[in-house]
């Protein structure tokens, strides 16, 4: 399956070199116990400068997909490339370095080390890489509107502010790709909008690539494209998803089961870009 909007979308995955796609998955699957697949083989390519939302009900395998793609978990089979580098070929230390330098993370919670100051949290990937302190962390923090809170502790911030700090940290290394796992899951709608706007801006203004896992149709509406997962399989995708389109697809997916869900939703019901 290839994305329909990426400029490099028409190029084959093998030749879609390091330059073109921020992330490619080829036949990536994951079994936690023998024979029980959390993720069936998935093919996916995310071009640079793209904001992709991975949607699905609980247990659909969307977090597993994200963890395999981000080098947090080892797929049972298949190849993951981040910025052209195949993760499976990397040793533990090289993989860690790749996460530190070329991947940014935003989780739903436990995003910040409570004992470090806000500025130190943002600078954490730089510090772990042994870089001397410079202005990058301060700039990243200012970019999310929290330039004045650098000396505070995470506990002194609101939930939305903490997620902004996490975004600043995710972007501070200018990574190839940012993975966000339910970044707004614990926020009220208004605060969530602010956080999503930051991610959107990172893509639009600075050319970052973002893959976001969410079950919230409103959040998914901020993405360029939404990917739908059910029971570990990609059952469809939606270009320029609107919140209502997404909600309709989700409801249908919730009603129907398994593979035939995709077939039954095919036919433009989901919206303009819907395809299975």
């Amino acid at each position: 399956m290839r994305s329909q909007r990426g400029g490099a979308g028409t190029v084959g995955a093998e030749r879609a070199g390091p330059v073109a796609d921020a992330l490619t998955l080829e036949g990536v699957s994951r079994e936690y116990r023998r024979g029980v697949a959390a993720l069936h083989p998935v093919d996916l390519a995310v071009p640079r400068g793209r904001f992709l939302a991975v949607m699905g009900p609980s247990g659909s395998g969307k977090s597993t997909l994200l963890q395999c793609a981000a080098g947090l978990d080892r797929p049972t089979a298949g190849t993951v490339r981040v910025g052209g580098t195949a993760l499976a070929s990397l040793k533990e230390s090289a993989l860690t370095r790749l996460r530190r330098e070329r991947i940014g993370f935003v989780f739903q919670a436990h995003n910040l080390v409570p004992s470090l100051s806000v500025a130190e949290n943002v600078a954490l990937p730089l510090l772990l890489g042994g870089a001397p302190p410079d202005g990058r962390a301060a700039r990243a923090l200012a970019a999310v509107g929290l330039g004045a809170r650098g000396e505070d502790r995470p506990a002194e911030l609101s939930g939305g502010q903490r997620q902004r700090v996490a975004i600043a940290r995710a972007l501070v290394t200018e990574p190839d790709i940012v993975f966000a796992d339910e970044p707004t899951g614990a926020l009220d709608p208004a605060t969530a909008q602010g956080v999503l706007a930051l991610l959107r801006r990172a893509v639009d203004r600075d050319g970052h690539t973002v893959v976001m896992v969410t079950h919230d149709p409103v959040a998914a509406a901020w993405a360029d494209e939404a990917l739908f997962l059910v029971r570990g399989r990609v059952v469809g995708r939606l270009d320029r998803p609107g919140a209502d389109d997404v909600r309709r697809v989700m409801e249908r997916l919730g009603r129907d089961t398994g593979e035939n869900a995709a077939e039954s939703t095919a036919g433009g019901e989901g919206g303009e870009g819907w395809r299975a």
């Binding site: 978990d73 860690t96 996460r99 993370f105 409570p114 470090l116 772990l128 890489g129 870089a131 001397p132």
Partner: protein, 857 residues
């Protein structure tokens, strides 16, 4: 950004993480701090005790003014080749005097540079039922004990007393059962219970004219001690001076020349063996305590880090390498450990002083043992503090190995207990049971060791199986809780069943303390208890006759002729040394024994003869306890080789085997033979059985009249032979069990309070759902009770397996635990469990409104 991790930057970030985290998580580290401080304190005290004992020596009193002392070699050795190893030698100190040929005196006197060589003989003297020490007056100058009053004894009938008499007084003194009258001509400084005779008289009274106890050598002025030592040593070797008596193979019969602190050896014969005993005991106890401290330290570190699993997962995700994480956590633990270890090291000094005071108060240290505590030893606990920090870092390394090494995604997932874990636990339990089974087939130390290993293995097995044990227990305890506990009980039952893995973690330390304390306390108590029962069964006598200063010659014969006396047996105590191999290793054990006159034995004292007969117990023969006979392969008619307390070796013919060896010791010897090898016999006791229908009071009066100076006691106390270091072992065991208990209290408190704190939101939720505060408190109390009961029951079950094996092998009884000690174990567990469960939950139960509370997040 560079591809390589630069060393300096890496150190900087780990240091930053460590310093910040140690401050933020101060509360989480509290248990680790306590456990490490205690570890440091115990290690420090052990090092002080060990070093001090290693430096220990007998006090130099009698020979303080002598430059050299010549005496026999008070050490017996046994060399054997362990399976597939080099020969090893086991040693033991002899508690009876090894005397030197009298010819040595002339040899030493002829050495140039010797101003005086003074012979010394020490013998027991009785005065009106009181025991005194007799010596020649010349030897008093070796201390020197000066005359306070009067003059030196010049004639055979004159003595100088240490105290309790005035010059000119007439005293009757009993030596070797013979009374004689003396005139006190002087009073000397020094010990009060001393009496000094004229030299020739002393030599005759001592009863060994061909040998002497020791020679004190005083150097001529200008002759150095080292120089004189060399000359005397050479002269003795050249003359071939030997100690008296046939020594065992491998023992040295050469006379020893002692200088410095060594000069106290011939005075306090009990010190050297006691010192070796203390060292051995400390080493064995230290091993157990260190093991427990390792378990507790690592479990508290694991708990402190488990709370921070999300943080560790995050750090891994954003690019901390396993090494960086280990470095940061290692430094963080190191910071906590350094402070804790220092606190413990400082506290080790008073703790050691307290232990010394306790040992002294219990009379657990032999008289004359000097334990030096020089200033250079004071900082020794700092060394063990360093060791404590290393232990902590090792524990941290192990604790974060899993979290740091795994894929970040897995570090965040709670792994359900797997099959491998269950199999490991079951294998460990089976191994423990097997080891216990092996203990039944063994005897003595081997059995005790196998039982100890079994207990250890099974405790670890239970720790591994914790979740399943908790599940099983909750299934059992759940029914009554649901039935009788009301709504709180139903909640508790449901919670316990759901939280079995969590409870498993809390159960482990409770099982640990119960099993360890029970095994440690019950092991000795079972032997003492069974020995006491045997002693009561063995005692058949109606009356006992004794005199502290020694009974007169022929007392037994005289007593037998008293009307109404059916039987009389003279009993003396002594020591023998048994050299043997245990699993190939050489061992020399000093065993307390009794010497008996065999006539009329079962009527006065019944050892429970199994084979053979005691009537033939004469010098050259021995009766052997049944278990010891089995391990030695001895039976009536065969011979056993023993060393007496003075090192003389003898092949003795076995005449009988008997049952009550726990009370009466493993060997029964002829009184006369045992006395021959005993330099200062303790007070003898004659056990008397009255005839049927005899008036006991009348018999007692008749006995008192027949034996002047004797005390007659009705219904004599049972005869129970115990090792000399019994008191020491008991004090150290209690100290070790208390230390283990303290560790476990820390572990239980930390585990339970972490669990309870983690449950605050759940408690709050229950309140929101309408549960009353009283119901919740009841629920918590029931849960705590279930935890305590399960831990105690499983701990007791674990302990019972090796204990049963041990007591069957050693005493042929069931294990015994003194009720008070059992209650203390139960009380400590109960109070600790309650303290770990109820106070931490108070925050969630406080106030009328559940709210979200201060610790809501």
């Amino acid at each position: 950004m560079s591809a390589q991790v630069p060393g300096r930057g890496s150190v900087r970030v780990t240091a930053l993480l460590a310093s910040r985290a140690a401050r933020t998580h101060r509360k989480a580290w509290a248990a680790v701090f306590a456990a490490l401080a205690l570890t440091s304190l115990l290690l420090g005290s052990f090092v002080l005790a060990l070093t001090s004992t290693a430096l220990g020596h007998p006090r130099v009193e009698r020979y303080a003014a002598a430059d050299l002392v010549v005496a026999g070699d008070q050490e017996t050795r046994f060399t054997a080749k362990p399976w597939g190893g080099d020969p090893e030698t086991a040693r033991a100190g002899l508690t009876e005097r090894v005397r030197v040929e009298r010819g040595a005196l002339d040899v030493v006197r002829k050495v140039p540079g010797v101003r005086a060589a003074v012979p010394d003989d020490v013998f027991q003297v009785g005065r009106a039922g009181q025991a005194l020490t007799g010596r020649p007056w010349d030897a008093a100058r070796l201390a020197p004990y000066a005359l306070r009053d009067g003059r030196a004894p010049k004639r055979a009938g004159e003595v100088v007393m240490g105290g309790g008499a005035r010059s000119g007084e007439r005293v009757t003194l009993r030596v070797a059962g013979v009374d004689a009258a003396y005139t006190v001509v002087g009073v000397a400084d020094g010990p009060r219970a001393a009496v000094y005779f004229e030299a020739a008289r002393a030599r005759r009274l001592a009863g060994h004219p061909g040998s002497l106890d020791a020679i004190g050598v005083i150097a001529a002025s200008g002759v150095g001690t080292d120089e004189l030592y060399g000359r005397v040593r050479h002269a003795l070797d050249a003359a071939g001076v030997h100690s008296v008596g046939k020594r065992a193979d491998g023992d040295s019969a050469k006379a020893r020349v002692l200088t410095g602190d060594g000069r106290g050896g011939p005075e306090f014969l009990g010190v050297a063996p006691a010192r070796a005993g203390v060292l051995e005991l400390l080493a064995s106890v230290a091993g157990t305590v260190v093991l427990v401290s390792l378990l507790v330290v690592s479990s508290t570190v694991v708990q402190a880090l488990r709370q921070r699993a999300p943080e560790i997962g995050l750090l891994r995700a954003v690019g901390a390498t396993p090494r960086q994480l280990r470095g940061a956590i290692g430094r963080e633990v190191g910071r906590v450990a350094a402070r804790a270890a220092l606190v413990g090291a400082v506290a080790a000094l008073p703790a050691y002083a307290g232990l010394r005071a306790l040992l002294a108060a219990c009379g657990a240290l032999p008289p004359g043992l000097v334990l030096p505590f020089p200033p250079w030893l004071w900082p020794a606990p700092l060394v063990t503090a360093g060791l404590t920090v290393l232990i902590a870092r090792a524990a941290a390394w192990l604790a974060c190995a899993r979290a740091a090494k795994l894929r970040p995604a897995e570090a965040l997932r709670e792994a359900p207990p797997g099959t491998a874990r269950r199999v490991t636990g079951l294998v460990l339990l089976a191994l423990g049971a097997g080891s216990a089974g092996a203990a039944v087939l063994q005897s003595g130390q081997t059995a005790a060791m196998a039982a100890g290993a079994a207990a250890m293995t099974m405790v670890v097995g239970c720790a591994v199986l914790g979740p399943w044990i908790a599940m099983g227990a909750m299934r059992v305890l759940g029914a009554p809780m649901r039935r009788f506990g009301g709504p709180g009980g139903r909640l508790a039952a449901a919670n316990c069943a759901a939280a079995a893995p969590r409870l498993g973690a809390a159960l482990t330390p409770i099982i640990l303390v119960t099993a360890f304390a029970a095994v440690q306390l019950s092991g000795g108590a079972t032997l003492t208890h069974a020995g006491g029962a045997q002693a009561r069964d063995a005692m058949r006598a109606d009356l006992a006759v004794r005199a502290d200063g020694g009974l007169p010659d022929g007392a037994v014969e005289r007593i037998r002729r008293v009307p109404g006396v059916r039987a009389a047996t003279d009993v003396v105590r002594g020591t023998v040394v048994l050299a043997r191999r245990e699993a190939g290793e050489p061992r020399v054990d000093r065993l307390p024994v009794l010497g008996l006159t065999p006539q009329g034995l079962p009527r006065t004292l019944d050892p429970g003869v199994r084979d053979g007969s005691l009537s033939g117990l004469r010098p050259g023969t021995v009766a052997v306890g049944a278990d010891r006979a089995r391990s030695l392969g001895a039976r009536p008619g065969s011979t056993v080789t023993l060393r007496f307390g003075d090192g003389a070796e003898a092949k003795l013919r076995v005449v009988a085997t008997y049952e009550r060896a726990l009370a009466l010791g493993d060997f029964l010897l002829s009184r006369d033979e045992l006395l021959r090898h005993t330099s200062t016999p303790g007070a003898g006791r004659i056990l008397v059985a009255a005839g049927p229908g005899a008036d006991r009071a009348a018999v007692a009066e008749a006995l008192a009249a027949a034996v002047p100076g004797a005390r007659v006691t009705p219904d004599p106390a049972p005869l129970h032979v115990e090792p000399e270091d019994q008191a020491l072992v008991e004090v150290v065991t209690v100290a070790a069990v208390s230390a283990i208990g303290a560790f476990t209290v820390i572990a239980v408190l930390s585990t339970l309070s972490l669990i309870t704190i983690g449950r605050r939101p759940e408690l709050r939720l229950l309140r929101l759902a309408g549960a009353g505060r009283r119901q919740l408190r009841r629920m918590l109390r029931l849960e705590a009770g279930a935890t305590a009961v399960t831990g105690l029951a499983v701990g007791a079950a674990v302990a019972s397996v090796p204990l049963l094996a041990f007591s069957v092998a050693m005493a042929r009884t069931v294990p015994y635990l003194p009720p008070v000690q059992g209650l203390v174990i139960v009380a400590v567990v109960a109070v600790t469990t309650a303290a770990g469960t109820l106070p931490p939950a108070r925050a969630a139960l406080r106030g009328r409104y559940p709210g979200s509370g201060p610790a809501g997040g």
